[in-house]
Symmetry: C2
Subunit: 336 residues, 2 copies
């Protein structure tokens, strides 16, 4: 099954021409507490296991689509025109092509992202999610968030989890079509929860997470133990979220991230995203924890760490990690 | 079953009083190409899987035992008296006690080691192996190397592989008594093989390999995939050794070490022996390999790397790693 078949199935009986001239949407990026690591279908970005994330509130991407009268799209990223032949543009354009099989239209796409691109902060997640939300607006489809998450997944797996705010579970699903592989928001909120972004290095990473994931699943022998670990971790995380058990949340998220990096290290050739700065920061976190501070980390396909802690410890941690940017996923920001 | 029962069983009908006044022995340390990682029996140091090592020729420990007329043992390590209450002495003394249940005798023990103690260079391996070899001499037991390797294992698991020079396979065995868990030398030699010791840090490590192993087996979920990986790696290594396929040897040994560290990283709390120097050295090795140089590494429970390469590349590698000490496991050293 191809992406285009999924799109046709989902949009059956819905408008296939834009209903508006412009559309705007924002989608938050998300940090997985239980990682999406390994695909059972590369074309449709169907995962081996379910995963669970928390959306990062005001951190994400805003997209504005505006139908233009040119023979091609125009793409701006943070007010800079992007070369249409770049990999970035080609991904966007081929995604948009899924929605203009019938009628050819072109758009000016303005993307504003307030997170570093490709630094392991899921920039493609919020990028594709915001694009799908904007298309939903442009075409006036009025799709459910489950269906929007399926469309976003076709752009980038983790984009499936960026359609909504809050704690999000992406159900792996079993069907070959992936129609049961979508994200759902958990009911629980956690206003005291803080995520601290520690940017060790915001340079473009050398190995994409897509490539790292594929190499791991193909060559790591330890990966065989990953799905079982994920099912345990998902149960622990949902229990932690339901009962606001922060120790359980932090411990599980940290252990899940470390296990993911362990499977990468076991790939051939090995993949190590951590730099010596990353290692030092981990040591510092473990020392603080040994001193009684309840702080944990998670790490994605890059050297940056994301700290997990509660609001009551914010001031202490700000002192320890002066460069850290703090997000409160469940607190409405003063200015969006 | 207790250690003492194994000793009684093995030494049945053999002398239980020293036959000489003094005895001296040397045992080489060994570097595992397929690691011993996880015990199925803590008391007897019985391993979950088989393992395979190469002995490091003149690098190891020499022991001299001399019956004394005191009421206690005396221990010298590299010409320095060692506190009898130290952990080091207590381990030695309780090991010796296994052999003086019947008659109480005391010894001066002089140990000379030419490798850094507890820096992930298997100092306890050659220590206990040389002690067992010296006891074999002192009591005139004339035991087979298989039986000596069983006795050495009671002191430290990897000591089982230090009774002989060359490539050594330690068979995990299945019996509860461990009588089938001993080491055997492989017939093959490989005179061109070089091992380069790169000492990043020769300080005493914070977490003993015994503790790291136990924590991993008890808490790492990825560890469940380790035994299967080991059986594949053992087959590859024996094939590589038999056919002198250096690429296969190096690739397998490196991958085995990385996987072991990956399981440790997945333990709770995580164990990371690599320092930033270790990471930089790994990167350097991978770069050299990308440039066509056939060099690999292995890493034990410490930050130091051991390089694997062939004699023909020695000069180039000496330039790249100026601090490296080179061992040729199959070439008789000029001065032992």
């Amino acid at each position: 099954m191809k992406k285009i078949d999924v799109v046709h199935f989902l949009l059956k009986n819905l408008s296939d021409v834009p209903q508006r001239e412009t559309a705007t949407a924002f989608a938050p990026t998300n940090i997985a507490l239980c990682k999406y690591w390994g695909k059972r279908n590369q074309e449709l970005n169907l995962p081996v296991t379910s995963s669970l994330s928390v959306s990062l509130n005001q951190k994400g991407a805003a997209v504005k689509l505006k139908i233009n009268s040119r023979a091609h799209d125009v793409i701006f990223l943070n007010d800079q025109a992007v070369d249409l032949n770049s990999e970035f543009s080609q991904k966007l354009i081929s995604f948009l092509n899924l929605f203009r099989a019938k009628q050819k239209w072109n758009v000016d796409i303005e993307i504003k992202s307030n997170i570093p691109i490709a630094a392991g902060l899921a920039s493609s997640a919020c990028g594709f999610a915001s694009l799908v939300l904007a298309l939903n607006e442009l075409f006036q489809w009025n799709l459910s968030s489950e269906k929007l998450s399926i469309l976003a997944r076709l752009g980038s797996g983790s984009a499936s989890r960026s359609i909504e705010h809050g704690f999000i579970e992406w159900h792996a699903g079993k069907e070959e079509t992936g129609m049961d592989s979508y994200s759902k928001k958990l009911a629980a909120e956690w206003p005291e929860l803080c995520v601290g972004l520690c940017i060790v290095n915001d340079q473009q990473k050398e190995i994409s997470s897509r490539e790292a994931m594929q190499r791991t699943i193909e060559t790591s022998q330890l990966y065989s133990a990953w799905p079982e670990k994920v099912s345990h971790d998902l149960i622990s995380l949902k229990e932690a979220i339901a009962s606001h058990d922060f120790e359980l949340l932090g411990r599980t998220a940290e252990s899940n991230a470390i296990a993911m990096h362990a499977t990468m290290m076991d790939a051939h050739p090995p993949i190590i995203y951590s730099s010596s700065k990353t290692l030092h920061m981990m040591q510092k976190i473990w020392e603080l924890r040994a001193e009684g501070l309840s702080v944990f980390f998670t790490q994605d396909a890059g050297p940056n760490l994301k700290l997990l802690f509660l609001k009551k410890d914010e001031e202490v941690l700000k002192e320890k990690f002066s460069m850290m940017e703090i997000i409160e996923p469940f607190v409405m920001p003063a200015c969006f």
